[in-house]
Structure formats: structure tokens, C-alpha cells
């Protein structure tokens, strides 16, 4: 699943990401696209609490793809 929150400011990127993780069907993973750098600190923390693993890739200046997968 993809979630594009580019252009959005705090707290929307993390709020939407948390909502999407909660609603994510089994077996799927979530890709969050953002240009808001504070997410790089907040999303991994919330992901850990929800049992997700985070990996972050820089895809632009400044844009990031945050991939969230359920921990096995």
C-alpha cells in the first residue's frame, strides 16, 4: 500500500501513517512518501510500538520513502 503525504506538515504525516498501519491487511506492507523530515524520527517510533519495522530511503531533496513491514 502507498500513502503520499507530501506537502503535509506535522502531525499529519505521522497521524496518517499510524492510521494506515492500523488498517493494513496482513501480508501487505506500507510505503509512505513524505517531504517532512521530522517524520524520520516519529514514524519509526510509532512503528515500533505497533510492531512494524522501518526502513527509510532518500528519494529526492528532500523526499523520503519510508517502508513499514510487520515484524515476523
Amino acid at each position: 500500500m502507498e500513502l503520499d503525504v507530501r506537502g503535509e506538515i506535522c502531525p499529519y504525516p505521522m497521524m496518517k501513517a499510524v492510521e494506515a498501519m492500523r488498517a493494513l491487511p496482513e501480508g501487505e506492507y506500507l510505503e509512505v512518501y513524505t517531504d517532512h523530515s521530522p517524520c524520520l524520527d516519529t514514524i519509526p517510533t510509532q512503528a515500533a510500538r505497533l510492531g512494524f519495522e522501518t526502513s527509510i530511503e532518500k528519494i529526492g531533496s528532500p523526499e523520503w520513502r519510508i517502508t513499514l513491514r510487520r515484524k515476523p
Binding site: M15, S37, L40, D41, K58
Partner: protein, 415 residues
Amino acid sequence: MTTTTTAEPRTGPLRLNLQPGVGLLVIAAAGLVSLWAARADSQFAVFWLMGMAFGFVLQRSRFCFTSAFRDLFLLRDGRVMKGVIAGMAVATVGFTLIMSDRLPNSRLEVVAPEAHVSPLALALIVGGLAFGLGMVLAGGCISGSMYRMAEGYLGSWVAFAGIMTGLLVAAHTWNWWWRLDIGRAPRLWLPNIAGYGGGVAITLLALAGAYVLILWWESRAGLVIPLTLMTHDPAVTFGDELRRTYRAIFVRGWPAISGGLALGTLNVFLFAYEHPWRITGEISAWASALAGKLNLGLAPPPLLGVETLAGCTLSGAEGVFLNHMTLSNLGLFAGALVAALLAQEFKLRVPRKPIRYAQSLGGGILMGYGAGLAVGCTVGAFFSAVPSLAANGWLFAAALTGGAFLGTKALRWLP
């Protein structure tokens, strides 16, 4: 043996990026401004450079007072608030030494010069609630909106227009509040009743208590958020090590705790030179001067009692446009712009949902009005007031917390 991992992003294929080059040009231009400012007035140059330092640290550590309060409720995450507390603890020690140097006897019924002590008025609570709600709606407090303006967030420009409007409205209603409430309210500076030793001990214990309370609050969400500190692989070559040092300072975001400690230290330095860090007084002067220039009868009247207050007082029409604090605020933009460009984090960000503009404007107006009543924003009336050993810093913090709570409720209704 313990291990931790950091969130340094893997970097995909990137096009050639001009931002660091533009950043160097901005640094050169800022150097020229310093030289000009040093000729005009040596204070101007110092405040310009200190403003740049504040802006640089804010951007690098993504330091946001709004998230410090809001994320307590929204995410049960106290990461930024811990940084705020650590910074205020450092500043408390430094401020106390400076104040006791300037006013050795604290038991007189006077307050150390430039300490941010203001009345414990109803207006402070109303202002804090409005500010807390407004900053959550707008996605940033005043300092936060300022460094985000420099990063290219269009919404923050709209919020800043709201802030100026709110400060102008506050100036128009100031005399009413002064007569009814602020002018009659008591002020409480801890050293007057407990000495410097007592004042500093009470403040540090209260900050330690707040820190522990946050740890407890976080733990209720099942996983405590670790205090992130930078980590890295052992480098092998000189080039690796240089690159890593550069990236740690200029590219990767700093942990919130480093940002808080750096801001607290800078705040002490600025007070040692002149007075604590403050922002809104000058923005109010800009708003009032602009209103006066427009000749539409919008200029506020002379304001009652502001000469008896220290800190971020509102300006009536008589406000001076260019003074040392103008340089400090402009420096904040310049420092944040330099930081954003060097980190390749500058981008024009345009909100896609129309309601975001309304939120930014409305939130800005609430913040401006609240900062007017509270004699300062999260910086002047909180981050500089608590270390001034002033009770109003704590009352404002409580009201901000309430306002931020209301804000998180409001956020859930909005799309």
C-alpha cells in the same frame, strides 16, 4: 553490551543537487550582512549571528515546541519535551548565575534586569490556551513557523501572516486586558521569596519531576522511546571520518536532546551578552508599524503598562522597526535557510487540501493573540521564563498543555 540502530536513510540515485552551493552563497551574504551590521552598531552584528545560530540549531534538530506538547497526547512521545526540559535545566543554572551577578541581593522587591517575569494574570492562562490550540492547528509555534518558512513551507508563511494579525488584534485589546486583569495581577519571581539558591533548587527539582513524569507517561504506551543519540560505524580512513563528521553536523538531523541543550546554552550566552532569547515583541512591532504605514486607522493606541514589563511586550504604533531584535529574528530565518540548504532539505511545500490554509491562518491568529496576552510565545514566555525563575513560565506551560490537548481533539475532527 547494548546496541541500537539509527534511522540514517539509505540514499537512492540522486541528481546533482545545487542546494549546498546556494547554501554557501547564503553564508557569504550573511557574512556581508554581519560586516554591515557591525558598522551600524556592534549589537546588531551579535544579534544577527546569534539569531543565525538559533535558526541553524532549530532546523538541524527539527526542534518544534509544538510537537513537544502535542506529541505527548497524540503519540505519547516525550522525545522533544525531554529536549526542552534539558535545555531549560542548563539555562536555569546559567540564568541564575547571570541574574545573581547583576542583582546580588534577591530579597529586595525588585527583579533582576531583563528576567522574563510577568504577571500571573487570567490573560496568561487565556493566552496559553489560545496559543496551545493555535500552534497545534497551524502545525508549528512561532519559532517553528519561522524556521519552516525558511525551509519553504507555504503553510508557515500563511501562519506567520496570521501571527502578525493576531498580535495586532492583541495590541488593540491590550489596554482593556491591562485595566481589568494584567495590571492588577501579582508577579512571582522565586528568588524574591526563596533566594537564588532556593529558586534554582525548586526549578531544577520541578524540571526533574517533569522529566520523570514524561518517562512514566511514555511507558504507559507500552514502549519507552529511547533518547536517540548519534551512532555510527568505525571509520577506517581519514576521508571517511571527515565525511561522517560533516554529515553528522550538516546533513543528518540532530537528536532533540542535542537541540534542546544547544538552544539552552545559546540562550544563556545571549543573556550573558544582553537579555534572554525572545521573538514576539519584535514581530508585534513589525505588525504595528505596518498597520501604521497603511493609514487605515489600524494602528494600535499607546499601550498601558508595557514599560513595567520585561520580555516580549507588544508594541503600539510607536514601535521601532529596526533594532537589535529585528536582526535576531532575521538571523533566525537566515540560519535556518543555511541549515536547510546544506542538508538539501529546502523545498517549496504546497499543502494540497484547502482547509490547511484556513488552519494555518486561524492557528496563526490564535497564536498571535495568545502571545500578545501572555507577553511572549513558547520561547519568551516559556523557554526563557522558566529559567528566569519566574512562576509565570510554569503557569503558561500548564495553559499551553491544555491548549495543545484541545488542539489534538480538534485535529481528529478535521480531514
